[in-house]
C-alpha cells in the first residue's frame, strides 16, 4: 500500500456571514470542494493572494477549523471528526505539524529553546533523559542553531532564529506532513535565503512532506516540486513547479507571475480597480473590491 502523505478530498468550507448587498445569501464560501494530494516526502506549494482560501485550507488540514464537507486523509487514514480519546488526539496531532508566519508570537516567551523541544518529545515519545537530550541536540543542529541559542529565551533570538526554533519544534514530533503557512514571508531577504536552505536540507534528511503555503512565487521553486494556484476559494491551476512557472496556462497564474518584480520589470495598470480580470469560463463568485466580511 502506497498512500499519499496527505490527501485532501472534496474539501469545502462555508462561513455564515451577515446578509449584505455583497452577500445576499448570508454565506461566504472560503473553499469550494477542492482536492489535491501530497506524496510522501513530496513538497506541494499552495499559492494564492489574500482571500484565495489557502490559509483556510491549512487550518482545515491541521484541525483548527471544521470542514463543511469533504475529508482530509493522512497516510490513507481519514482525520477523525468529533470526540475522541486524548491518546488518539495526540497521535493525530503528531502526524501533521504547522509553522506559522509570525516568529514572534508562536513561541512561549518564558521557555528556553531546549525546553521547548524537550516538551514536545516528552509528550509524544517514551524516552529517557539521555535519549531526549541527544534528540534535542540533533534537532538544534538540523535547523542550523548552536548550543548558545539552544539555551536562550525567544526574546534573545532574531526573527530568523525563532523561525528555525519553530521548525525544530514541529520536526520534534516526527510529522508525516509539515505545513509551512507563509513561514518565510516575514523574514528579511538575507535571512529568508538561509531558512529556505534549511528547509531543503531538512526535507532531504528526514523525508517529511511539505505543504508550503505562500503568496510568493519566487520562493516556491526553491522548496517545492508541485504547485496548486488558488483564487477566491478555487484551485485554478496545478502541476509541477517548473511547468507552471514556465508555461502557465491559466490567465490568473500568468497575471500573478507578471506581477513579481524582477530585473527589467515595469509595473503596469491592468484594471481600473486592481481586480485581476475574471477569466472567462470560470464561474467565480462575484468578488467585490469592498473588504470581504469576516466570519
Amino acid at each position: 500500500m502506497n498512500h499519499p502523505a496527505l490527501e485532501v478530498r472534496d474539501l469545502r468550507k462555508v462561513y455564515p456571514v451577515a446578509v449584505t448587498e455583497d452577500c445576499p445569501d448570508g454565506e461566504f464560501t472560503a473553499l469550494y470542494r477542492e482536492s489535491f494530494t501530497l506524496a510522501p516526502g513530496g513538497s506541494l506549494a499552495v499559492v494564492g493572494e489574500s482571500g484565495s482560501g489557502k490559509t483556510t485550507c491549512a487550518r482545515l488540514i491541521v484541525g483548527l477549523e471544521r470542514a463543511t464537507s469533504g475529508a482530509v486523509l493522512v497516510d490513507g487514514v481519514e482525520r477523525g471528526r468529533g470526540r475522541t480519546s486524548s491518546a488518539r488526539r495526540r497521535r493525530r496531532g503528531r502526524e501533521v505539524q504547522i509553522v506559522f508566519q509570525d516568529p514572534y508570537s508562536s513561541l512561549d516567551p518564558r521557555q528556553r529553546v531546549r525546553d521547548c523541544l524537550a516538551e514536545v518529545l516528552t509528550l509524544h515519545f517514551d524516552m529517557d533523559a539521555r535519549q531526549r537530550d541527544g534528540r534535542v541536540a540533533e534537532l538544534i543542529d538540523q535547523v542550523g542553531l548552536d548550543e548558545r541559542q539552544a539555551g536562550a529565551l525567544p526574546r534573545a533570538l532574531s526573527g530568523g532564529q525563532r523561525q528555525r526554533v519553530a521548525i525544530a519544534r514541529a520536526l520534534a514530533a516526527e510529522p508525516k506532513v509539515l505545513i509551512l503557512d507563509e513561514a518565510v514571508a516575514a523574514l528579511d531577504v538575507s535571512i529568508q535565503a538561509q531558512v529556505l536552505n534549511v528547509l531543503a536540507d531538512v526535507r532531504e534528511a528526514t523525508g517529511v512532506a511539505y505543504l508550503f503555503i505562500t503568496h510568493d512565487l519566487a520562493v516556491v521553486q526553491q522548496v517545492c516540486d508541485d504547485v496548486v494556484v488558488m483564487r477566491s476559494g478555487r484551485i485554478v491551476e496545478r502541476g509541477p513547479v517548473a511547468d507552471v512557472l514556465e508555461r502557465a496556462a491559466h490567465p490568473y497564474t500568468r497575471r500573478l507571475l507578471a506581477s513579481v518584480p524582477r530585473p527589467g520589470w515595469t509595473p503596469r495598470r491592468r484594471t481600473t480597480e486592481g481586480r485581476p480580470p475574471v477569466p472567462s469560463g470560470h464561474p467565480l463568485p462575484p468578488v467585490s473590491e469592498t473588504k470581504e466580511p469576516l466570519p
Binding site: 538561509q194 536552505n197 484594471t271 473590491e289
Partner: protein, 332 residues
Amino acid sequence: MSALLSIDRLRVELPAKKGSRTVIHDVSLDVRAGEAVALVGESGSGKSMTTRAVMRLLPEGARLSGEIRFDGVSIPGMDRRALRRWRATRVGMVFQDPRAHINPVRRIGDFLMEGVRLDGRLSAGQARERVSRLMRAVGVADVDRRLSQYPHELSGGLLQRVMIAAALATEPDLLLADEPTTALDVTTQEEVVAIIDGLRRERGLAMLFITHDLDLAAAVCDRIAVMYAGSIVEERPAGALTPDASHPYTRGLLAARPEIGRREPRLRTIEGRPISAFEVGDGCAFATRCPMVRDLCRRERPAPVHVTGGRVACHFAGEAEPQAVVGDGAAR
C-alpha cells in the same frame, strides 16, 4: 547643487535606558526635483528612521546632527508654523499600513477634503471636485460611493489608493513613500506602484521610495541607495545596480533573492543576521557578515568613494569575491 531634498551627514541618536543609541550613523543623499530615489535596506537599517527625520517625526528626545534641506531651507531649523505649512503643501507621505494612518471614524470624503481645504484657498465645491478627480486618477471607480464610505469598508489596496490621493491632494513637490506596498498582494502591489509611478511622472513629482525590495526599487526609481546598519553603503543609478553592484552587501542581497525560472541547488546567503545601527563598532558595519572581510575592515570604517555613477563605502569595493562563500549560510 540644485537638490530639492538634501540630506547631509545625517546622524540620529535616540534616548535609551542607559545614555543613547545611534540609529543613523551617516546618511548623505540628494533628491533632485522630479527625481525618484529609493532607499533600500533590511529591518533595522535605518531607512524608515531617515524618512522620519526628514518629516520631523522622530521620537521625543531624539538628537539629530547634520543637515536636511528642502529647497535650500533647513527642515530641522523650521519653526512650528513653517513646519506645518511645509508639511501641508510641499510634501506628501504614504505609509506601509494605511489603516494606521487614517481616522477610522471619518468618511473617506471628509478625510480627503480636510487636507485639501486646510490652506483655505479652495471652496467646498472646488475641493470636492479636486478630490473626485484625484480618486479617479488613482484608479478608483464609483467615486461618490467610496467618498461616503468608512475606512473599514475598503480593502487594503483600495485604502492605499486613498492614501496616495491624500498625499497628492495638496500638489506637493516631494512624495515620501515608506514601504507603500509591502502589506499588499502582489497583483495589487503592481497596480499601486504603477499608479504612483504614472502620477509622479505626470506631475514631475520627486520621490523618496523606501523599500526592502531591490527589484521593485529598480523598477520605479532613477537611483538606488542601499542602507545597512544606519549608513548608506552603496548608491547607484537604478539600471546599473544589478550588473555593477560592488559592495559585498548589495551583491549578497541580489544573490539571496530567488529569481523565477532559475532554481538554485542552494541559495547564496549572507551569513548571520542584519545588525542594528547601535551594534556597530569602529570598523565597517558589514564586517561581521562580509565574505571578504580583512583586518582593515574591523579597524576602520570605510568612507564612501566615488565609482561610476555613484558611490560605495567599502575598503575593497569591486574586488572579486572568494568563491568559497557559495553555499552553506546556516549559522553552524
